[in-house]
């Protein structure tokens, strides 16, 4: 302790405050670094989910007989009410994403009620860090 006291060049009465300040600074830095690492982990998981979804969509394209989603929705001109050639060709809407395996059945039932049975739901399970997730693709006519 005396060597630390000498190293900090503080008297015994001020050492307590110095240690408190130093520990507080270290704590703040460690918390910030941990948060950053956690954010990176989350973004990796999200990217892995996206990869699974893209892989699933490319697999499903063969089963859907080349059905393409309507491009009109993402076209800004269509949002203004102008007729888009692509929108005329296909009125299908695709929604893709991931959910936890145990939530999939609930989501399917919810989709069925909302779309009155006019939506097709395809799904595929996969493992991520010991958690079973499902990549889904919902196809419906807009």
């Amino acid at each position: 302790m005396s060597s630390i006291e000498l190293g900090k060049k503080k008297g015994h009465d001020l050492l307590f405050d110095t240690i408190e300040q130093e520990v507080r600074e270290v704590e703040t830095f460690v918390f910030q670094a941990s948060d950053t690492i956690e954010e990176i982990s989350k973004s990796i998981k999200k990217l892995e989910d996206y990869k699974e979804v893209v892989k699933f969509i490319s697999e499903m394209m063969h089963n859907l007989d080349g059905a393409q989603p309507s491009k009109g929705v993402r076209d800004p001109e269509n949002a203004l009410g102008l007729v888009n050639q692509d929108a005329v060709e296909s009125s299908l809407q695709f929604i893709a994403g991931t959910v936890k395996h145990e939530e999939m059945e609930r989501m399917k039932r919810m989709l069925f009620r909302f779309t009155r049975g006019r939506a097709l739901t395809h799904c595929k399970s996969y493992e991520q860090d010991g958690v079973t997730k499902v990549a889904y693709l919902v196809v419906f006519s807009a």
Binding site: F16, I40, D49
Partner: protein, 81 residues
């Protein structure tokens, strides 16, 4: 609940997949670097002088704080009520 994603153009699925792979590899490398740096920082923070090699500074602080606390507790018992 879950994540939903924008569906990329069907003709560019392979290139999108490749892009995601690159992004994942970069993110993993960033993650590993951050963890390594944090570990090094903690080791450096916990290290004492060369003469006291292998002694944890934070453990010394803990003992010091416990000692000071015990002294003040004992002093407080001497207060007049």
């Amino acid at each position: 609940m879950g994540n939903s994603f924008d569906i990329p153009d069907m003709d560019s699925l392979a290139s999108v997949k490749k892009d995601i792979d690159i992004k994942i590899a970069k993110s993993y490398s960033l993650h590993d670097t951050s963890v390594r740096q944090l570990k090094e920082y903690l080791y450096a923070t916990n290290a004492t002088s060369a003469r006291m090699d292998g002694v944890s500074k934070l453990e010394i602080y803990k003992c010091f704080v416990a000692k000071e606390r015990a002294i003040y507790n004992a002093l407080n018992l001497l207060k007049l009520h």
